[in-house]
């Protein structure tokens, strides 16, 4: 299995070119070739959601794809979320504020699922949040605080956006 293929993937805004085996999983590419270990593997059969990343702005299971399938794509992982100065973004901060994580292993997957969700739905109901995260398993929190965190984040984001629109209207 030494047939190697050239792939070029943009990860968190940085273009990565590598020769890889065609059978290399995308998650192994991200974790081992790019040293971005925030993307976690929980089940490797597409159920737990711990490996969720954004691929061309859509949430996908990294464990269900080969690296070669992502050739030419743009990927965002959990490492892209905090600000350049290291401070947490609104969603990350809301997770910490609301104790929405315990062991934290599933957390990157939740954050990536929710990053996409909150872009599309700025004012979600509790049921919409529950549905949005129903593809991510958490074994510690019992989900309640994750829902609270999303509610806090969405309120802050709404406020920020309305401030922006006021500014742009002026």
């Amino acid at each position: 299995m030494s047939n190697k293929v050239q792939v070029g993937i943009s990860i968190n805004g940085k273009k990565v070119q590598k020769q890889v085996e065609s059978r290399l999983l995308l998650t192994d590419f991200i974790r081992d070739e790019c040293n971005l270990t925030g993307t976690h593997l929980g089940c490797e059969h597409g159920v737990c959601g711990a490996c969720t990343i954004l691929l061309d702005n859509e949430p996908v299971r990294g464990c269900l794809m080969f690296a070669v399938q992502a050739d030419g794509c743009e990927i965002q992982t959990v490492e892209s979320l905090n600000h350049v100065d290291g401070t947490l973004n609104v969603l990350q901060q809301s997770f910490s504020d609301n104790h929405a994580l315990q062991c934290g292993f599933c957390t990157p997957g939740f954050l990536m699922t929710l990053t996409h969700f909150l872009k599309d739905n700025q004012n979600p109901t509790e049921n919409e949040i529950r549905e949005a995260i129903s593809g991510n398993l958490c074994r510690c929190t019992g989900y309640a605080n994750i829902i609270k965190a999303v509610q806090q984040a969405s309120q802050i984001l709404q406020k920020e956006n309305s401030n922006c629109s006021v500014v742009s209207a002026q």
């Binding site: 270990t37 976690h40 929980g42 104790h99 062991c103 292993f105 593809g135 074994r139 989900y143």
Partner: protein, 792 residues
């Protein structure tokens, strides 16, 4: 002074975990690291005739392949963990245990005992090559009769899982007080029933993983493992490999959930260090989910046959229970789960005549270990189903029967007349169970629910309410320690043996230390999860860390404070009792403006360049305290489930879940609430969805998440929580454990609620999970019975 204890301080651990910079075992990379993959048995019970590794060995990139024959005389099998299995002499006298030796070789030798047992290990350049090689290994098996039913296993002529364990009964004991048989003759009524809880898999989202790095220059072995018990891993490696324990360092980095089974030392934790030593290279193994579901230790799996004598007013006079624990192929934890069940079964109730026989039986399944609750969910499911059945037989509200038998507040501390697992008398230290029950009933508007239930019944809707209570011995010993030192920056560094898997130790122990020392939690750095930081430690299990490590932290902090005050007294020219420490400022009461810091004290007391200090003050700012609890402390809880059942589909909708709990002093309410919500989520899973299923050949049928169902955000409601604060009398903080409690009661509360929702049918729920198909079956059967009676 409590300034930080009791506050919902945000967790210190969160930053790295929300930025993806936490370090789990799988994230660790070492130079020259190889990767291991295991070949596992597809047979439940078979003789290994031949293993062909030739082709696999020839594959480029393969460094080593080991099978059972290679390690036969070199690696001792894993045996019972003495730290958890020892039966104190007075307990032994009371329960007369019969124990037969059992063990597991770290690679199967001659025969396999369960599907998933490691048969061979391949080490290669990377996991891809190792998996290719594993596929090339051919194993020839000769099938033996698999034993999957513990009752079959105990029959005279049944095949043996382990040759030396007669009748496959690894351990049995008998606990008895009063005279149950006599009580049965005198009581108005007798209830006989069988109650069972299924086998479960704990399923942390991070699977297991081990890395070993041997340094031949210093003969040091560093092992990283996703474990709850780094000290037990160290001891077991030393035992199995005959190495000097102090040459082994075990680190548990960030661990992605544990829940019990990550506390059972597994064969891989012995083999990976062995191979690293043999190859003189770092070796890594990370489990995949299929391996986790087959090979990681499982839990629960008990069957109870109970006979209960009671009067027509609901008073219970006696309870006899003969229960069997299906332990799978090996039992490493002695009577831990079984005795937990036996001594917890009466819970908040007074039952004077009590007779328990327990047998731990070996079968051809994955070995069984403690899992969140460890024997208590089984006890509570049995007891609370019994209470509910009695109520229904007597046509009383279950609450009435509960109240009839409940221990009253004025009877505290209450002596249950038997012994705890550690040999102490089973005396509930504090609590008010009737008040907790009343608070819970008020919280859910019990009377209002009953009215609503009647109304909805008319509209054809079936809602029901179910209650469960438990009393849990938490904070099990034997001890936990804290080593505190001050460094040149003035920070307090606290080394603790109890390593976490998401419980927030870095935060809560800093809160405890901050209060005792007069600092802020930011002034204290907590170091955990490494056998190099402290000589002895036990670990995080049995709802014990806040109790034992918390108390050790508190006592060690007071010792450190005493030393700081003594030195500050000299430096400030006053006596220690005239000195205050607030937010890190150390000052004389009459002159707060003129203060010292820990940095100043450190400078004065460090061993080098020592200015004069009285000879009785030892240099350095370092203290150690090991806290040894007198015995467990009893937390308690009342759980109330509200459900709606669809008779047509058997689908149960959990509408509300409420809890009133007492864990004594709450160190961090946010974290305690998180533990309760998370525990209840796991309890809901075991009530309605989760079950490890083996077929009659011992083949596992639940090897993926398509078959083993874990609850998602759609199934878990936000739990309503009420608190009671009855401080523990058995530790200086007044804390009781809370980690496991949430998982204990949901199966009983939910099952009772389902029976209540279907009260017009005679439905008996004695088995979990209450899946739609199982419930639909019960409904159909009951409807048939009812229509037969009506047509007669």
């Amino acid at each position: 002074m409590k300034k930080y204890v009791g506050q919902s301080i945000k967790r210190k651990e969160d930053y790295r975990l929300v930025t993806g910079t936490g370090q789990f075992v799988a994230d660790i990379k070492l130079d020259g690291m190889l990767e291991a993959v295991f070949v596992r048995s597809p047979q439940a019970h078979a003789i290994i005739r031949y293993i062909d590794t030739l082709k696999a060995k020839e594959l480029p990139g393969v460094h080593a392949i080991l099978i059972g024959d290679d390690i036969k005389e070199k690696i001792n099998p894993i045996t019972q963990f003495e730290s958890h299995s020892a039966v104190p002499p007075n307990v032994a006298k009371e329960i007369n245990p019969k124990i037969q030796f059992n063990a597991e070789s770290v690679l199967a030798v001659d025969k396999v005992m369960y599907v998933g047992q490691p048969v061979a290990v391949v080490v290669a350049e990377n996991r891809y090559i190792a998996e290719d090689a594993a596929d090339l290994i051919k194993v020839e098996y000769e099938q033996l009769k698999p034993i999957v039913d513990p009752y079959e296993a105990m029959k005279e002529d049944s095949p043996l899982v382990q040759e030396q364990v007669e009748r496959n009964i690894q351990m049995e004991f008998h606990l008895s007080i009063g005279d149950a048989k006599q009580a049965e003759q005198q009581a108005d009524r007798i209830l006989k029933t069988r109650v069972q809880t299924p086998r479960l898999s704990s399923n942390p989202i991070e699977t297991r993983g081990v890395i070993a790095d041997y340094d031949n220059r210093t003969d040091q072995m560093h092992v990283w493992s996703a474990t709850q018990l780094p000290f037990e891993v160290r001891a077991t490696i030393a035992h199995c490999l005959g190495w000097t324990e102090q040459n082994i360092r075990v680190t548990a980095p960030d661990v992605g959930g544990g829940f019990g089974p990550k506390g059972g030392v597994h064969p891989e934790e012995i083999l990976i260090p062995y191979i690293s030593n043999q190859l003189n290279r770092p070796v890594k193994w990370v489990e995949d989910r299929l391996e986790h579901l087959t090979s990681a230790r499982q839990s629960r799996d008990q069957v109870h046959d109970v006979i209960v004598a009671y009067n027509s007013d609901g008073t219970i006079h006696s309870l006899r229970d003969e229960f069997v624990v299906d332990s799978g192929a090996v039992n490493f934890f002695g009577f831990t789960c079984a005795y937990n069940t036996a001594y917890h079964l009466r819970g908040a109730y007074k039952i004077p005549n009590y007779d328990i026989k327990s047998r731990i039986v070996l079968t051809n399944k994955t070995p069984n270990v403690p899992f969140r609750g460890a024997g208590r969910p089984e006890a509570v499911f049995t007891m609370d189903r019994v209470i509910d059945m009695i109520a229904r037989k007597l046509k009383l509200d279950p609450v009435e029967v509960m109240k009839k038998n409940m221990i009253q507040a004025h009877e505290m501390p209450y002596d249950q007349g038997i012994l705890v697992k550690d040999g102490a008398k089973l005396i509930y230290d504090s609590g008010d169970y009737p008040a907790a029950l009343n608070q819970a009933l008020e919280m859910v508007d019990y009377e209002g629910f009953r009215d609503r239930q009647k109304e909805l019944k008319k509209a054809g809707k079936n809602i029901g309410i179910g209650i469960s209570t438990y009393v849990e011995g938490t904070g099990a010993g034997p001890f936990e320690g804290a080593l505190l030192s001050v460094d040149s920056s003035g920070k307090v560094i606290a080394h603790l043996g109890a390593s976490p898997q998401g419980q927030g130790h870095e935060t809560v122990f800093a809160q405890v230390g901050a209060d005792a020392l007069g600092l802020t939690p930011d002034d204290i750095v907590i170091k955990v999860g490494d056998t190099a930081v402290l000589p002895f430690g036990a670990g995080t299990y049995a709802s014990r860390s806040a109790v034992n490590a918390g108390s050790a932290m508190h006592e060690a902090s007071l010792k450190l404070r005493k030393k700081v005050l003594a030195i500050a007294g000299i430096m400030l020219g006053t006596t220690p009792d005239e000195i205050e420490i607030e937010e890190g400022k150390i000052f004389s009461k009459d002159d707060p403006a003129h203060f010292l810091t820990l940095k100043d004290i450190f400078k004065r007391v460090r061993p080098a360049a020592r200015p004069p200090l009285p000879p009785e003050i030892e240099p350095g700012l370092q203290v150690t305290h090991y806290f040894v609890p007198p015995t467990v402390t009893f937390a308690s809880s009342v759980h109330v489930a509200e459900v709606e059942v669809d008779k047509e589909t058997g689908f149960v909708e959990l509408q509300n879940y409420s809890v009133v709990h007492d864990c004594g002093t709450v160190i961090n309410p946010m974290i305690v609430d998180g533990q309760i919500q998370g525990g209840i989520a796991q309890g809901i899973g075991s009530a309605l969805y989760e079950e490890v299923v083996y077929n009659e050949n011992g083949q596992l049928l639940t090897g993926t998440y398509m078959d083993y169902l874990l609850p998602t955000s759609m199934e878990i409601p936000t739990v309503k929580k009420g608190h009671q604060l009855h401080l523990s009398t058995r530790n200086p903080l007044g804390v009781k454990g809370v980690g496991e409690g949430g998982a204990i009661s949901p199966p009983a509360a939910i099952a009772n609620a389902i029976v209540d929702a279907l009260s017009d049918l005679e439905i008996v729920i004695n088995q979990l999970p209450v899946s739609p198909s199982r419930l639909r079956g019960l409904i159909k059967e009951a409807e048939k019975k009812q229509s037969t009676i009506l047509s007669k």
